[in-house]
Amino acid sequence: MDKIKLDSFVDVYLIGSLSSLNIRLDHTDKKSVSVVKKNIGIELPSAQKALERNGLTLCFVSDDEYLLLNEKKQNESLLNKFKKQMNLTTGVAENTSDLRVWFLIKGDQALNALKKGVPINLEKLQISETNFLRTKLGEIQINILFKSYNEILVSVLRSHKEYMIDWFEVCTKRGTEINFDF
């Protein structure tokens, strides 16, 4: 994880790829759902949420799509096993680790930095739970995984990596913090 050199009011790190699977399944299909629960021990999360266990994070993408992240890359074998079992159901799990690049935004103004591009309501987040938002930042698609108010993971398509770095450079420039007068 490299800190990106920016004159910024937040710290931005380039994580690169995170080991991940995209899972598509019919959430009313018990067989598919049970494969998920059995193998990773995580229930399907509700909308805009993510659930974590043993270094794995299952994120809600849509009613029939989930993103399984393995941030620590310790569970590759588990992921492979899980992928094989999912493929035996009518669902599908596919390796999408190379599809995205991830950034970590750190600092008191991390949430405010995102407010310069993300139209979704960030005021109402319950950071006590893990929030996962699939939204846009300016003109590009973005996923946001909230660790806390001060630590936010962001992913974009790998083709937008440089655009995202440029965005951080322009939009988090020191002196452009979002402030209320009181």
Binding site: V92, E94, N95, T96, S97, K115, E139, D181
Partner: protein, 995 residues
Amino acid sequence: MSSRLPRGGSRVNREKLVDFRFNGKNLKGFDGDTVASALLANNELLVARSFKYHRPRGIFTAGEEEPNALMGIGEGSFFEPNIRATEVKIKQNMNVNSQNHWPSLRFDFLSINNLLARFFAAGFYYKTFIWPRAAWKYIFEPMIRRASGLGKAPKEYDEEHYEHIYHNTDILIIGGGLAGITAAKALRDRGLSVMLCEKDSVMGGRYLQDCKSEDRERYKKLYESSIEILKKSKDIAVKLNTCVTGIFDHGFVLAYEENQGLNVTTKKALWKIRVKNIILCTGAIERPIVFPDNDLPGIMLAASARDYLQKYGVLLGDRLVLTTNNDYAYKTAIELKQVGIDVPVVLDARASSDGPLVKEAGALGIRILFGKCIGKVEGKRKVDAVGICSVNGEGTIEELISCNAVAVSGGWTPNVNLWSHCGGKLIWDGDLGFYRPDPDKTPVGKDGETNMLALGGCAGVFSNYDIQDQVPRKINQFASRLKIKSKRYIEPNIFSKELERNAPPVFVLPYGASKDKQKRMYIDFQNDVKVSDLQLAAQEGFENVEHAKRYTTLGMATDQGKTSSINGIYVLSQSLGKSVDTIGHTTFRPPYKPIPLGLIAGQYTKKLFKPIKKTPIDKWNSINNAIWEPVADWRRAYAYPKVNENLEDTLHREVLSVRKNVGLLDSSTLGKIMVKGPDAGQFLDLIYTNMMSSLKTGKCRYGLMCNEAGFVFDDGVVARLNEQTFLCHTTSGGADRVYAWFEEWLQTEWHHLKVFIINLTEQYSQIAIAGPKAREVLQTFKSIDLSPDKLPFMHFMETYIDDIWVRVYRISFSGELSYELAVNSNQAEELWNKLLKAGKKYKIQPYGTEALHILRAEKGFIVVGDETDGTVTPQDLGMEWIVSKKKNDFIGKKAFSLPHLNARVRKQLVGILTLDTDKVLPDGCHALEDGKAIGHVTSTYFSPTLKRSIALGLIENGRSRIGSALEFESSSKESIFAKLVDPSFYDMEGSKQNG
């Protein structure tokens, strides 16, 4: 003359001098001065010329309603035209220039228009420049365009910092005056998030500023305690210097933050706010009385004259006449008198008044004349004297009073623009002479419920006592209606009951003004709209207020009629003999005040202007001198020119490298969509025109997709990975579109199919290795056996190159022996480098998209978007072979039986060979028959392989014309003759790609 007092001015720091330039003249102001206050302090009364007649104009207001003092401010990359001098603070070395004059502000050549004003009445342009017809385009329009316009557009790139900010809040309070502050206090601790936007740099509006001296301490205490409460409240966020400029459907609000506190640049942000409910506390704008010669420099709204005194210690003049119809305006006369300014007379249009302010003015020795008004103003570029007349007469001058400033007040108009933006209706208050929000016809939110509440001045409630009395009550009712945490808010009313600002309306004086005077009575200062213009509009049948507005340009200037609208409506109603309420009002539209165009773009300029997608091999391409081509959102290597090599030579080299040796192409941008499930084959049979369910595992098949109308939509190779899994390749620009297309059909029509799809476009990168030596290059990696029987054409295999997993497709888009290698994107560059290294002894060369296009055109392969344009069928392309006759149904099938898709005159794809082999047809040029266009060229190149020009084209009934010659028209109208041939120019039997 205007000047600055030796002390005073709550907004300026007299310790800090600021140098600035006005029209090249070096001037000084204080830190905190606006351009307007600094100009007045330097006795610069003439600051502008009007739009039409180029009449001399001075500063008329102290806020965003300013119609006259528009300036070009800044220099170079920070220059901005049409800025209201009343809103911008001066900065060290700021360059300020007046606009719309030549050669100078004082001696403006086009002020000749003023002398010809009698000919330039409303509708002058429409009536005059009719004949001769051709003169409009070549003489009149260029001449008028040159003469018109205010500021000049900047010539340099705007380097100002703009940005967009998203914010969500439960309640937005717009305006931080007494009503806004009280509303915010009443809404705290109710479990709601509240945002308050105040356009000024301080809260409080007018209530503290306009209070009597004996009340000041009490009011100040209230103000300070209120601000303290707001600061302590966790629910309330206050944003100063932020003007709400528009309210749209479903509680979407735009606000313009202009923080001028920064020394070098000004931070400008567009806030995009989503709100559930809005409390409108936008106050009111003072309305002028229209009188003859009322547009001269030195005439100003009464409250604004007071603002300059209180905030900046600046005097409009040293001998000021006040003309008014209300007690409240007397504050100006009183305050000026108290600082030693001569106020020779107050002209009050009313018959009498015994209000406390009137008495106070009288006690100060100010002469008050009731029933009187101004009948004329003397002076050329500034006020020298006013003539007093009776309000009821024609304007016969009874007395001439020498003065150099006039303050005017005709009462106050509620600031209702924002209420109207999203559908709130207005009602006419005939007693007070203004439109105010109709509480029964409010704007509504997404659920159809009222989502806006107007309080204070903008609701027509002006007295501080009434505001303090009304706001807590209304907020409590509002909270109760919304069923939010009900905590009855009570606040003791510290104000005394007063009705100072309410007065019977007066719009135009004298009431019986002669025709001559009416032609000198200005309603809209910026656009030079006079009383006589509106009367003419009415006379000529423009009875609808919207028509009259457009005919006269009333309210169409940058101030959007803030000081002129009501007076204009009144004059129109009088001219038509109707009451104002039957006339109605013009539509208020966002933005409330002009915003810079740069603000709309926000941060999305320069490198953020357009998101450009880059492939994993982009860095290598960049280092190796690639020139770029945009392909949908991607940038792709167009070609790789070597040093001192021209583009033509580059393309020839790259093409021949593929034909003779081997070439390497970054084709990572191809769309890759995985389709999986027991019904995947059935689904793809419905999507593609040809059969996919019969495809064997390990094999590939080229497929064509059509839309419901039977027109080609996308194409690509489909690979069957296993019984239930297909990987569909799409065009580079089509990946997202095709993915959405698949989802739409799955979710709407074929939801019974057990199929899931995943877009893997960026998971895999793809590298094409093409040319007769491609197999040899790949076989240098020991692990691969690519012999034709192991991997025949249109088959794929999964293997490793060294330790890199790859899926090798034996497919070709060049007509040569070719392999496409899919690899996990993180290893794409590594694989690319390995292939280059392995291919070195085979003279491998990277080739770009243009060489790719030449190669495929030589072979006669189509490109969706080149050979197709949304109206081309597979049959038009000569691809009947790909339309299944066995399948019961697929998208587009029904359309193929329609008569017009089988008509003989449809354009069909053919090859085109120019008779002059060196002559390359222009792309898109028309094929002519008897002078009539019967088709066009879709792709055209000079073929390095065939050493001649080749082209593909869509020609009416083209296949039956094969062998004949046609005329093609070049852009220089030169005729080029070419022969129509089969579209495949190279290796028709396919021995090279199949070998």
